[in-house]
């Protein structure tokens, strides 16, 4: 009987020092995938490696030996003795392996719940397996189910619904204020990792131009080059505020650089076109009262953090729904696996039936020499139909039992009734 097994480790079971020993680069991954497929007793295999997890998914008929070989392989690659490695590993069989893969693909097992990258990584892993021809009937289907399940969970639950990083939350807010960001101007005051990331996301969302300013002008010029924007001088801020729509500030200034009165003045000049301040600086660069002005929106770092905390707990609530969908799909897939078990028996039955009727047709026709071709055809068709119709019910019966626990019993009875195993042996001889 074929088993599906998953051996792996993730951010919860293994510290980064251990994970990085087994984290494969692109070419290493290809080689590892081929090495694993070459291991004896492994029928199909897929290797997934990201910075948070390593998963080796395979099918085998000799579960014990295959598991042992995989652990030996992982031990060899990581340089950790098998017994020291085992506490970091989890091993899932059959339904549990299916469920685990589904959960990984749907980002239910990710460090940041619902993060979108993992599905791409699973797809990459599958592509390598396809290239190496190490994935076949079972894993092909399992992977395709994983992809469509992930998509379904993404659309039917809010697990990936709202932003969980500061920069994404800021871009999402900008979209709720301005609608499309096409043609919007961004002013970046000061520099810093988070501010630059937010600026990059805004550019990716089609914001048109970026202006950069800094107390030291040379620094502004450098940064402007990086964003293909324009550097403006620090004392130009007020006049630039008339033209841009989104301001990201992160200077180390101890005093606010943007004041209530200043923005009120500016809004008249802007004819109340909305203005959005993303103030990442601590202490804040924008006076908090600015938020009270109509059509002006100010978000500081704590506001943004508050939003992503809320969003994370929303995702956790949505994950419950997602788990239910996973349960459903695990059952469906297991049922399909069950039908796979009865397929060989059904095929053998059909082969046997074909052998019998062809033999009988030959015998009959050799003794009836005067038949016209049309009549010969009639005899053939009749023999074929009788044989097929006799088999129809047993085959349907086996298919019906394929999802039941009693499947093996009925398979056994069917094989004995039709004497399939003896014949197999005879023909092999």
């Amino acid at each position: 009987m074929i088993r599906i097994v998953d051996i792996g480790m993730n951010h919860e079971t293994a510290p980064v020092q251990v994970r990085e020993l087994l984290s494969f680069g692109k070419e290493e991954l290809d080689k590892a995938a081929r090495d694993i497929q070459a291991i004896k007793n492994i029928r199909e295999s897929i290797v997934l490696s990201t910075c948070n997890r390593v998963e080796i998914l395979f099918t085998t008929e000799r579960e014990k030996e295959a598991k042992q070989s995989i652990i030996t392989f992982l031990s060899r690659v990581s340089g950790i003795a098998p017994d020291d490695l085992k506490p970091f590993l989890y091993i899932y069989d059959d339904q549990e392996a299916i469920r685990h893969l589904f959960r990984v693909g749907a980002s239910l097992d990710s460090m940041i719940l619902g993060e979108p990258q993992i599905l791409g990584q699973v797809k990459d892993a599958y592509r390598i397996a396809v290239d190496n021809k190490s994935s076949s009937v079972i894993l092909n289907r399992l992977m395709h189910r994983t992809f469509s399940l992930a998509k379904r969970i993404r659309t039917e639950t809010g697990i990936a619904g709202s932003a969980v990083s500061i920069s994404f939350a800021a871009v999402e807010l900008a979209k709720k204020i301005f609608g499309e960001l096409t043609g919007k101007g961004v002013l970046l005051i000061g520099a810093g990792e988070m501010a630059e990331l937010a600026a990059t996301y805004l550019l990716n969302n089609k914001a048109a131009r970026i202006l950069v300013t800094n107390r030291t002008f040379a620094r502004a010029v450098d940064l402007a080059e990086q964003f293909q924007g324009r550097a403006v001088r620090f004392d130009e801020i007020e006049s630039q505020l008339l033209k841009v729509d989104i301001v990201i500030s992160s200077t180390a200034s101890p005093e606010p650089i943007i004041s209530f009165d200043q923005v009120r003045r500016i809004m008249k000049g802007r004819r109340n076109r909305p203005l959005f301040f993303i103030d990442i600086a601590v202490p804040r660069n924008v006076e908090s009262r600015v938020n009270e002005i109509g059509n002006v929106f100010v978000y500081d770092i704590d506001d943004l953090k508050g939003i992503i905390d809320d969003n994370l707990s929303k995702r956790q609530a949505e994950a419950v729904k997602a788990e239910r969908i996973v349960d459903e799909e695990v059952i469906k897939f297991s049922e399909w696996l069950g039908t796979l078990e009865v397929v060989p028996t059904i095929q053998e039955l059909q082969e046997k039936c074909e052998r019998i009727y062809q033999g009988e047709v030959r015998k009959t026709l050799s003794s009836l020499k005067d038949l016209t071709p049309y009549e010969r055809k009639g005899v053939e068709t009749m023999a074929k139909s009788i044989a097929k119709k006799l088999l129809n019910d047993p085959i349907l019966f086996l298919k019906r039992k394929s999802a039941r626990d009693s499947r093996d019993l009925y398979l056994d009875i069917a094989r004995q009734l039709f004497n399939l195993d003896d014949e197999k042996k005879k023909r092999r001889k």
């Binding site: 609608g179 506001d303 809320d310």
Partner: protein, 279 residues
């Protein structure tokens, strides 16, 4: 026959409302799409119902309170369909369509009264007056509802508490843009409605303007929207203020539509429109 069309329309609007509410709660895009299609079908039947009424009566079917409610409901749906086609904001339906269902139900609870059509009500001007005025009112409903949606969304963003509506409602920019377009087109139609109305009055009473309560309140409504439009175009109002004022003007409009007709006496009240003499 008329009643069949009316009931079919009402049931389709009912189904569409249920669909639109489900859509905004569970966010199933397909449900929203189907609700919209069902609504379109209902709207077609509603139009048939009104045309049939026009054919039977020989005058625009808005002479009684009962029929003008059904006509207003039609105008709201028409305005929604136009704005949905332009802005593609399905959630608008979740807010607007329940309203037209309520109007339809109200209309169906009022008993039918026989209407005598005066000769002055035949001809082109009354249908023009009723259609442009009511369509203008329907568009102002959209302006008001976009204003309410704007206030909800703006409040969430300003107070930094992003609740259930944050992801469901469109961006402030789109809501403000709907507000602006609705006020512009609504104002245009209302203006045409008042001009054609005075022509009807001239035909019926021999004078264009009589300072009748309906006329006075219509003028007030018109002025309110005129001020709002002026503030938007000339002063650069937008966002919250404009939304608030669109809601405020709408209250005056509703009073003009309902209050004046039901509470005050004048030649435009339905008693006199229906042909009964004033007490």
């Amino acid at each position: 026959m008329d009643i069949v069309f009316f009931r079919l329309t009402l049931s389709l609007y009912f189904v569409a409302t249920a669909g639109f509410l489900y859509f905004i709660i569970r966010r199933r895009k397909k449900v929203g799409l189907w609700s919209h299609r069902i609504l379109l079908l209902g709207f077609a039947l509603h139009t048939m119902f009104l045309l049939l009424g026009y054919y039977r009566l020989g005058a625009v079917p808005a002479l009684s309170f009962k029929s003008s409610l059904a006509f207003f409901s039609w105008a709201i749906v028409a305005a929604y369909i136009i704005f949905q086609a332009k802005f593609r904001i399905m959630v608008l339906g979740s807010f607007v369509i329940p309203l037209s269902v309520v109007l339809m139900i109200l209309s169906s609870t009022i008993p039918i009264t026989p209407v005598t059509v005066r000769p002055a009500f035949k001809g082109i001007w009354l249908p023009l007056h009723a259609t442009t005025s009511l369509l203008g009112d329907g568009i102002f409903v959209i302006a008001c509802i976009a204003g309410i949606m704007y206030l909800i969304q703006e409040r969430q963003i300003k107070t930094k508490r992003l609740g259930a509506f944050y992801s469901r409602l469109p961006s402030l920019n789109i809501l403000d843009s709907i507000n602006y377009h609705a006020i512009s087109y609504g104002f245009l139609l209302l203006t045409i409605g008042m001009i054609t109305g005075s022509i009807v009055a001239q035909g019926a009473h021999g004078t264009y303007w009589r300072w009748d309560p309906k006329e006075v309140w219509s003028l007030l409504t018109w002025l309110c929207y005129a001020v709002l439009l002026h503030q938007r175009v000339a002063i650069g109002w937008r966002g919250r203020r404009s939304a608030l004022m669109a809601i405020g003007c709408f209250f005056i409009l509703i009073f003009t539509f309902l209050g004046v007709n039901l509470l005050m006496e004048g030649y435009h009240s339905f008693e006199s429109l229906e042909g009964n003499p004033l007490p």
